[in-house]
Symmetry: C2
Subunit: 345 residues, 2 copies
């Protein structure tokens, strides 16, 4: 076993709850000595962590699908890490693992926390570490179960996905293509739209920054929208509601346009389209599907291998850059799954 | 056959599309001679017509689940009527029928229109003519299929219904009680609330006019809301969204609080509760269930007969009073199913 006690851990902690955008002042940077794991525990070194829109919700006080991050706590984050010390027979030094490692260089995962942290060894034959934060990680799982279980697309359906060049959106759209659907993305800017169509094979992509989502939906969804996978909320949700096909399914995965609102969330004023079109809008939380993750990982890894699916990660380096990197999400500046690299493999 | 050609028909026609409340000036009152039915047709005399919140939607231009009433057309309405002349072998003079007879004294239903008008003979052993506009008519069918097919209540579930003393709400709540649910109504004023609890057997009723729907839901739904049958939209929908139980189902049946808005509809700003609670919100239109109406009528008539269900109608008399009678709905002044009596039986 490596001697680890001489190591210092750098951490990003939530210093206060943000109002609006989570600017640098809501974070504190701390250091502390690295401790040895007790029996059954592992000590891991983070290679990269996932930056997700959902993080913004975890920073708020109050009841949600998961407890909020406490003031003074290391920020919750999923990571890919290397085992540097193990007192758990299932893991050995050098193993690559996935776990909720947090926004820090080292994470000590004691036996009692292993399950809650979702600790498992990753198989690099199925995908790269970055892909394990993307298609094979939470965003991919969210896409898979949200689209297939909640959205229930049928071959020939028109599937619309917002945040199309983001982590969840890229997999939703490609998976819908694999399942025989017509797929229309919504993304910000011509570069993302071109990538989504030319590289990922979406049938069309609407550039919401160019202004006319309504006309774009009219042009590209002549038979209406059968499945809408919503990552953004706000006006775009209203535009899609106005174009639903009979019996449509809206998957509520997120509402990134609303997370930093200083005022109340903007509710979908066209929600009565659900009545007119006998449609439904349903929320989903990926943690509910943990037992079926292996099945989804196997299927998605197969598509990555046979070329039916691609992935893109947007990598920012350095734990110190955590605050600004996270803001890229809320400014729509990330192109692909946003990953914060913390150490070399 | 009675001589009918000497009869004069009085009618209420849509003169112009309303903005806001449908005041008297949007209607015109016309008279015309009654015509004889052609082969296969029937001429009926309206005894009573149903006044429904949905009528407000039919008065708007634009795509909906049914075509709008045209300017100058007789206002669409469901009625219970007596056959006064028949050239259809299935109906004879004196029969009581249900059909979309419109806001007029006499309706001529030619053979080609009989199906679209939903013409059928009613069985007075199952219910009174007024009940055929209520529990055994469209409101009852809406309650039955909306609650059971879309809401999918399980015994022990907490079911909340708004507009609880209205046509649909009274049947939703009583049916949910029959199915073993805990039922909480929301209605306007102490008289309606008392009736709903003491006469209909709801477990509780929240008087929204008294102000504190939020506290009422907290008091009466300690385990959260499993099924919400929404007839009203607006703030009440938001309060219920904030109290959903895990896996809740919201049935979107109507949004009477929003129908006369001069500005945009108020979207449910708490809709992200659908995600947090893995809940769904789904619209329904009663016409989709026409093939199963006989089954539902049979079941509901059974509950009326054995006393497990009651019904209440709020009867206004006189076709001339149509405009003011309709407004009672939007002011929340009706107590029970609103019926406009046009002629004695």
């Amino acid at each position: 076993m490596t001697t680890t006690t001489a190591l210092t851990n750098h951490q990003v902690r939530l210093a206060k709850r943000p109002t609006g955008l989570p600017t640098r002042d809501v974070w504190s940077f701390t250091t502390e000595p690295v401790r040895e794991p007790a029996d059954g525990g592992v000590l891991v070194r983070n290679l990269a962590i996932s930056l997700d829109p959902a993080m913004r919700g975890w920073m708020n006080e109050g009841k949600s699908y998961i407890e909020p991050v406490g003031i003074g706590d290391v920020m919750r984050a999923g990571g890919i890490a290397r085992v540097v010390a193990s007192k758990n027979p299932q893991f050995k030094e050098g193993d690559l693992v996935s776990a909720a490692t947090g926004a820090q260089e080292y994470a000590l995962i004691e036996a009692a926390q292993a399950r809650k942290a979702g600790l498992f060894k990753i198989d690099q034959r199925l995908g790269t570490p970055n892909q394990w934060l993307n298609v094979l990680g939470m965003p991919g799982m969210t896409a898979y179960f949200g689209l297939l279980d909640v959205g229930q697309p049928k071959p020939g359906d028109t599937v619309v996905v917002s945040g199309a060049a983001g982590a969840v959106g890229q997999t939703v759209g490609q998976l819908a293509k694999v399942k025989g659907c017509r797929v229309v993305g919504i993304a910000g800017g011509p570069a993302k739209c071109e990538w989504v169509v030319n590289e990922l094979g979406f049938d069309a992509c609407i550039d919401y920054k160019a202004g006319n989502v309504r006309q774009g939906l009219k042009d590209h969804c002549p038979k209406g929208v059968d499945v809408y996978f919503d990552n953004v909320g706000g006006e775009i949700l209203d535009h899609v509601l106005a174009k639903l096909a009979r019996g449509a399914r809206i998957v509520i995965c997120g509402a990134i346009s609303q997370y930093n609102n200083m005022e109340a969330v903007q509710g979908p004023k066209n929600y009565m389209s659900l009545l007119v079109n006998r449609a439904r809008m349903e929320g989903m939380v990926v943690f509910d599907y943990v037992d079926r993750f292996p099945q989804a990982v196997g299927e998605l890894a197969g598509y990555l291998k046979d070329g039916r699916m691609k992935s893109r990660e947007d990598v920012v380096s350095g734990l110190d850059n955590f605050p600004e990197a996270l803001l890229k999400l809320f400014k729509g500046e990330n192109f692909g799954k946003l990953v914060l690299k913390i150490a070399d493999a």
